[in-house]
């Protein structure tokens, strides 16, 4: 007999699936009910994610023993059936996705949702892909959820249309299609050699491989690593990223802030499962560390060179990806907890930043032109245009510029890791963990890591203040008009980061617990595959 809580892990996949399907078949003209459906679905996901967060930590009554929840689809046992696995890390990522989803959805309802068709269903499918990728315990299912989120993101990156978006979107699509093909080759190679696609069974099968088979397996694992690095935006596979993120509509770019972290998450998950002396290249040794450093360096150069805020935001995403890769590649496991803290803080900060710069740059001529064209193309003349102040709907915030400036400073503090917001605590924890690194960590690595972290922060401060001055201290600009539902999500995301900073102690202990249970691979394997194995090798 199973309690209803047993079925919670499937809900983050099912809710957006059904909500998206309903939205797909309802008429675009019925805005009220559609917005209500999308909001309810996203709120429900947030609620489920929070419950799962509590269950994974043992604060709510857990229907599973041992803290790791396993949901067998169709009740088929693990090596043969497909499972969803819920641990603390998955719960954190689910909560982050739902929070980000809610904020960007509310923001987009103000105007961006009307810049094209099928925004709301695509948005739900994107959330479904993200949730599924974080929960799944099966390699091929990971591919399928990657494809779902990518297919939705292809639609979303083109949302609003226009030559710039189509060009950037085309590059984005080609790069990701090729990465998906590599993913398929990797999955096929791993299945062909190890005879399983179950992520928990994989380490056991790999241990039994002969030398020649092991070479093939390593080849598959390396390809898999390359795919995840493409998604994570690691150098030199990230040249598409700033263009695509900068060209995408603001709420889309906001939710895309978590897309690179899916690659990082998958890399981390596989690195833990495949750890050991014979770990394949991207998942072990110094390889990932230096890759992360190179990513930080390329992102920092981009940050310094950026002349526009949207490109700057894209490069900041790359820097945060690189920081995470370097932290996960660092010797020992003590950096994982702080890195997770940094992940959450930087994703929230970047999302707020993407939405903020769209509001701040709204009155700039080229962007306004582009927007007007796309609104015109869909027969939706923008009512909030500054030429028609009488047609205003919603409340104009009188101190719009003050709000924007304050949010900009908060985001800058968050993204560069200055006190007093959560970005500082995350970077401080990372640095502290690197300095107190295990004795087997080379001194060179510690030095390089600290230098990279501090220099990238410095470059961020310089670039953000330079561009910030240009945008906010420019008297030629009139103050943009904001609506409450646009300002609210940005303020909300910043407030969450403030809360993370105030509650840094409990949050940090949760992240550390998540890192500990993540690195306890035998517990994961035992939870998914209880009892002796009877699987037959094909």
């Amino acid at each position: 007999m199973t309690s209803w809580q047993h079925h919670l892990p499937i809900l983050p996949v099912l809710i957006p699936l059904f909500a998206g399907a309903i939205l797909l078949f309802s008429s675009e003209t019925r805005r009220g009910p559609r917005a209500a459906i999308a909001l309810c679905a996203t709120l429900a996901q947030l609620l489920v994610a929070l419950m799962l967060l509590g269950i994974a930590d043992g604060r709510l009554a857990s229907p599973w023993s041992g803290g790791i929840g396993v949901y067998a689809l169709g009740n088929w046992a693990a090596p043969f059936g497909i499972v969803l696995v819920l641990d603390r890390l998955a719960a954190i990522m689910l909560t982050l996705t739902a929070t980000l989803g809610l904020a960007t959805l509310v923001y987009s309802l103000a105007r961006w949702e009307r810049a094209g068709i099928h925004y709301l269903p695509l948005f739900q499918f994107l959330l479904m892909g993200l949730n599924g990728a974080f929960l799944t315990g099966d390699l091929f299912n990971l591919f399928v959820f990657f494809e779902i989120l990518l297919a939705a993101s292809y639609g979303l990156v083109l949302h609003g249309s226009g030559p710039v978006r189509v060009k950037a979107g085309m590059h984005y699509i080609v790069v990701n299609l090729v990465a998906s093909l590599l993913f398929l080759i990797a999955a096929a190679l791993i299945y062909g050699v190890a005879g399983t696609l179950n992520m928990a069974e994989l380490p056991q099968r790999v241990a039994m491989l002969g030398a020649d088979e092991r070479t093939l397996f390593k080849l598959g694992a390396v390809l898999l690593g390359i795919v995840f690095l493409v998604k994570a935006g690691a150098w030199p596979l990230n040249f598409w990223l700033p263009a695509a993120y900068g060209a995408a509509a603001a709420p889309v770019a906001g939710v895309f802030a978590i897309l690179t972290k899916v690659g990082v998450y998958a890399l981390l998950r596989f690195a833990v499962l495949l750890q050991g002396p014979g770990a394949p290249a991207p998942f072990g040794g110094d390889w990932l560390f230096y890759c992360g450093l190179a990513t930080i360096a390329s992102g920092t150069l981009g940050v310094l060179a950026a002349q526009k805020l949207d490109r700057l935001a894209g490069f900041l995403v790359i820097v945060s990806s690189g920081t995470l890769l370097a932290a996960f590649g660092f010797t020992g496991t003590t950096l994982t907890g702080p890195a997770l803290f940094y992940l959450v803080s930087s994703v929230l900060g970047s999302a707020a930043f993407f939405m903020l710069i769209e509001m701040a740059e709204r009155n700039r001529a080229p962007a306004a032109d582009l927007l007007a064209i796309s609104f015109e193309a869909f027969g939706l003349q923008d009512k909030h245009d500054s030429e028609h102040p009488d047609g205003m709907v919603g409340v104009a915030i009188p101190a719009a510029m003050a709000f924007l400036g304050l949010s900009f400073v908060s985001c800058a503090l968050l993204l560069t890791g200055l006190p007093p917001l959560s970005g500082f605590f995350a970077k401080f924890a990372l640095l502290a963990a690197a300095i107190a690194a295990p004795p087997d960590a080379p001194l060179l690595h510690t030095g390089l890591f600290i230098a990279a972290l501090l220099l990238s922060g410095l470059a961020g401060v310089m670039s953000l203040s330079r561009l910030g001055m240009r945008v906010f201290w420019n008297t030629a600009r009139s103050a943009p008009r904001l609506q409450w539902i646009e300002a609210g999500p940005v303020a909300g995301l910043v407030m969450i980061c403030v809360a993370l900073a105030v509650g840094a102690g409990p949050a940090m202990s949760y992240f550390n617990a998540a890192a500990q249970s993540l690195h306890d691979a035998p517990a994961y394997i035992n939870a998914v595959l209880p009892g002796p194995q009877t699987g037959a090798k094909p």
Binding site: F140, V144, E147, L150, A151, Y154, G155, L158, S161, G162, P163, V166, K167, G169, M170, H171, I173, V174, L177, V178, S180, L181, L184, I185, A187, A188, L189, Y191, G192, L197, A536, P538
Partner: protein
């Protein structure tokens, strides 16, 4: 049979990569399709090549796994084909949109400068 099979995969993957690196969007989409075919065949081959064996258990032949081919790669290939088909169709739309908006089929949205 293995040689023919691997040659087919290799030739298609090679031509696919060549086409993918060409500057016109139509060549890119052809390259992606060829690569997808090669990858699908490759997945199929990873279930080991066998002639005349079904992946579904036949009550008359018994349940010895040696009599059957591996059904999992076939299921994977089916999924991969469907996803590849959908993404190719989507890319086709983007290709046409790019052609319409920019008036050129170059992947950068503009012709490279002539000497």
């Amino acid at each position: 049979m293995e040689i023919v099979f691997s040659l087919a995969v290799g030739v298609m993957a090679g031509s696919g990569i060549y086409m993918l690196l060409r500057p016109r969007t139509f060549q890119v989409i052809m390259g992606l399709s060829l690569l997808a075919y090669a990858v699908n065949l490759f997945i199929f081959g990873m279930g080991r090549l066998r002639i005349g064996d079904a992946p579904v258990i036949n009550p008359l032949r018994g349940s010895d796994p040696a009599l059957y081919t591996d059904p999992v790669p076939q299921a994977l290939v089916l999924t991969a084909i469907v996803i590849g088909f959908a993404t190719t169709a989507l890319f086709l739309v983007v290709l046409l949109a790019s052609r319409g908006l920019n008036g050129t089929d170059h992947v950068d949205g503009r012709e490279p400068d002539q000497e």
